[in-house]
Symmetry: C2
DNA sequence: GTCTATAGAGGGATAGAC
DNA sequence: GTCTATCCCTCTATAGAC
């Protein structure tokens, strides 16, 4: 099957054409979504012919899945690049939240990735689930265990608290940047981080 | 202009064809997004000919905008149907959060609406902003003023706290239902509501 | 392996009859 | 106002030359 072959070739990087195609398809799919993307424009952006694309990927759907999987893998590696969670909660947690939020607010490619993943989650549920399997779940487990291991924080339900923290900052990115809500209902990230930090501190009192 | 005419006719409901077209377009656009929607299928679902659609709406884009505006107006009325926020915070706030979350978790049409709004927020930023202008902003102001007026709650930044509350429950809906994350990283709504309630209570101590 | 050229289907939009 | 029939374009995907 073409998709399988493409994945293997790409993993061992025996062809640069595959990488050019994925780069071109990234531009196209992240800008226009799945249905709005054109294979002609992918070929143009990648600098190859359409037939070359179809020799490496089964069809438009296979290319889209290949791209999303590659992008998810890259994000996964970014998470792993983070240092393990250690130290004083009063310092570590605000820093972690602020860093995660700032990075998401600045990273336009991540925002486009998130937009497409949500927008196509009816057509491709399994692709949306990749985000949870490889990024949200590992990340939330690390934070949850950190919260649970620091009993002085006195957090009754660490797993649920992670959803509060994660939800607050992810939703801010979706609302302010992805949906362009900052012009209508603005909120500074510092104020959100400060409030979350304050809430955590209040638990230990 | 056809779109203006359509809006006026629809507002004074002088034609039932318009309503049928909007109904048909709702099925189509909410299921497939803007680019994935077909005007042929809209006509089929609405039970009218394609030419009739184009006699009431300028083009595909005008129909899409008309639909989104109508849906936003309906949601706006749902918000206004809610009783004003009064009473004991320990009772009112958990009830409000639980009711809002439950309604969003059960309302598949709202989830599809939200999915399309996010998915098309690059192509139609002004449509995504409707959600904040007519739903999120009025709602958040009511809650923020309620939090601020109850000084015994001792909340340092009510506006930011609203983002925590709103973000936590909206993100849960996006993650669990819209993106189908509940199979990978489940979270019961009760636990989230309980944690949010607990956090608010801790502020007053 | 990669290209050009094209097939074949379906898209949005409209002309003209009624 | 609404329909049928159709235009023209872009789309995905492939055949065949090199």
């Amino acid at each position: 099957m073409a998709r399988t072959k493409a994945s293997e070739i790409e993993r061992y990087s025996s062809s640069d054409k595959i990488e050019k195609i994925l780069q071109g398809s990234k531009q196209e799919f992240l800008a226009h979504g799945y249905a709005g993307a054109s294979m002609d424009r992918v070929a143009l952006a990648a600098g190859v012919s359409k037939a070359t694309i179809y020799s490496h990927f089964q069809d438009k759907e296979g290319l889209f899945k290949g791209l999303i999987e590659q992008l998810a893998r890259k994000r996964f590696e970014l998470i792993f690049g983070a240092q393990p969670l250690e130290g004083e909660p009063n310092i570590v947690l605000p820093q972690l939240l602020a860093k995660a939020l700032t990075q998401m607010l600045e990273d336009k490619e991540f925002q486009a990735f998130q937009r497409v993943l949500i927008g196509e989650s009816a057509r491709f549920p399994e692709l949306a689930q990749i985000l949870f399997r490889y990024i949200a779940k590992p990340g939330s487990e690390i934070i949850s265990q950190y919260l649970a291991s620091h009993s002085e924080l006195n957090i009754p339900d660490p797993d649920a608290m992670v959803w509060v923290l994660m939800g607050s900052i992810v939703h801010l990115v979706i609302a302010q940047e992805i949906m362009h809500g900052k012009d209508i209902l603005p909120m500074e990230s510092d104020r959100l981080i400060n409030s979350l930090t304050y809430l955590i501190n209040q638990c230990g009192k």
